[in-house]
């Protein structure tokens, strides 16, 4: 298991605990309690630190607010000026508030919905809170009509992170960040919710083909 830079030398007991937490998080279908997106499991300090490290090092804040500084004003609570919008042809993408505020952020989405959005690109507000075991629409809980996050959200690259890293990001966003009430106007994408952008031809396969491919040395 990879470790965060912030916590380079945990005791083995803590590692075991982390493994337990990750296992618990990836176990099937923790049920929702009243009120929708609840955290399935309380994240450990290590998991939150790992999630924080990944959020900073993958530059979530460059679009979602705050840059690479968790102490910055507007950390992850969405764009604030029209200059921060992405104009893509006739469409407009606005990086939303990803702090756990219920009304304006992702507070009502579960960690599993956040995980599914990072792994499969599925919009959490339009994808049920279920464990997904396939990437074929209509199979293994993958929606028959998948609705994807707007481009340029780079989930096609980030989906290749190990499960525990995606769970750590979800845990950090839901548990490690304070809710910030800041409304971002909804993005205005195409009617297919960018489905046509996310074919295998365009974003490649997941999981990856076995190493080595013809382009790789195999060493």
């Amino acid at each position: 298991m990879r470790r965060s830079n912030a916590r380079g030398s945990e005791l083995s007991l803590v590692s075991l605990l982390l493994i337990f937490v990750v296992t618990a998080c990836t176990a099937p279908a923790p049920s929702l309690s009243n009120g929708g997106g609840m955290a399935a499991t309380r994240g450990s300090e290590d998991q939150l630190a790992r999630g924080r490290h990944l959020v900073v090092s993958t530059a979530c804040g460059d679009c979602h607010g705050g840059g690479s500084n968790p102490a910055a004003f507007g950390w992850l609570d969405g764009i604030r000026t029209p200059e921060q919008e992405f104009k893509i042809g006739p469409f407009t993408t606005r990086a939303r508030n990803i702090t756990p505020d219920n009304a304006t952020g992702i507070g009502r989405f579960s960690e599993r919905q956040i995980f599914n959005s990072l792994r499969y690109g599925l919009r959490p507000g339009e994808t049920p809170d279920v464990e997904i075991t396939s990437t074929i629409p209509g199979q293994g809980n993958f929606p028959a009509r998948p609705k994807y996050l707007a481009v340029p959200m780079p989930w096609p690259a980030w989906r290749h992170m190990p499960d525990q890293d995606l769970w750590a990001i979800a845990a950090y966003l839901k548990q490690g960040v304070k809710p910030s009430s800041h409304r971002v106007v909804d993005s205005e994408g195409p009617p297919d919710f960018w489905a046509s952008e996310y074919t295998v031809e365009k974003i490649g396969p997941w999981p990856l083909p076995a190493y080595p491919t013809a382009n790789e040395t195999g060493r």
Partner: protein, 495 residues
Amino acid sequence: MCLAGAQGRAIIGVVPTLELRILIQKVMLAALLASSVTLGAASRPGSAHALPADVASLNPPLLVNRSSRPKTVEVNIVAAPTRLSLMPGKMTEAYAYNGSVPGPTLEVREGDKVIVHFRNDLDEPTTIHWHGIHLPFEADGSPFHPVAPGKSRDYVFTVRPGSAGTYWYHPHPDHRTGFLIAKGLYGGIIVRAADDPLPKSIAEKLLILSDNRLNPDGSIDFPEPRSHHAAVDEENGREGNVLFVSGKVMPTIRIRRGEVQRWRIVNASASRVYRLAIPGHPFMHIGNDGGLFEHPVDAKEIVLGTGERVELLVRGTDKPGERRVLRALPYDRYIPQTRPDDWKTTRDLLTVETTSEPPPAPVLIPAVFRAIPPLDIAKATATRTIVFSQGMINGKKMDMSRVDFTAPLGATEIWAIENVVGMDHPFHLHGFQFQVLDRNGVAEKFRSWKDMVNVPKHETARIIVRYDNYPGKWMFHCHILDHEDHGMMGVLEVK
């Protein structure tokens, strides 16, 4: 042009006895119709009719009470395929209750025992859901009690005192509600009070708003299941290109100068929200889903969400021959991705024409209608959060075998319905009327009984409800029919 003085609520209108008035009205209407056909057809905006729709026939037919027992209403309803004209000059393969679209109106009084003998002559299962009526679980017509093709079911319930108002009935089988209503299965219910505070002499109109997507040949247009169009319907809810008022396209309502009419309006559309206005002509808003308010409220426009009802008083103040139009003004309920290009279009619904009949005698509209005691927040034993996202409630799709919430009979609860996505979702709870506490933190201005509340995009509505009388499994759902059919529904078990 205003309806009444702010305080006295004195309104001009009306004649000595109801029977005499109806007789006079019929005679005058016949004469008016004969004389105004040419003018009406030529000048009415947006009309698809060769002849103006007759005001006398605008109200759907009434269900015939076959019982001779006191305080008992016993009716027969058959749902069956039929071929009828929805659009003038075109025939449509439709489904109908007792052969008419809308179905015949069920008119009952508070305290009546109602027995509906229903037969399903369709080739698929269906039910009749008595939308908004407080009744036993077995009579609710929810997906838990489908009626198989060729089979019958009796719906038996007693109309709750204090529930006088405007309701409606429609199919509610699992996954097929939108299709069956689009085929023509919907009808109105009027519950009359033992002591209605409004003058009996006021003429009533039952205006059931509906839209349908029709092909030029009159057939009903349903998209191919896997098509882009079907996906947009699933997102927005199906909207039609033809708007009907009680089955008529752009009908005319005639009103005398000084006359006051009581309009009961039902939104029976699959998804369309009507922002209703008669431009330049305010009306008096007197009631909601569950009947009259405590007092009337002046209004220039009303937002009527899917499944909702309102009662309005409309007064004729124009000169004879003048016309106004009841319009549906633009309302942006849509998620940006699938917002229709023509969403800003204003739609005409019906013409209000002032006749040359002599003004009626004045009627007095009381300043207070009734008392609506508030449900007691202090007695609430639970606060539930209902998260509406796109096609889901609390992250889940409907599962008939799952109970989402359990509550004891008689309990009072608060529900916070949070809409976390970018389109409106109208909330409906079966079985129990509720009161809206606040919308987005703003306290509701006046109390009313509701069974629907439209929750606009990214907003929250809080309601308070008490589970009186009837245990059972009660649905709560988004009333955009495509959404409920695709799983935006849950189950509350009261026991």
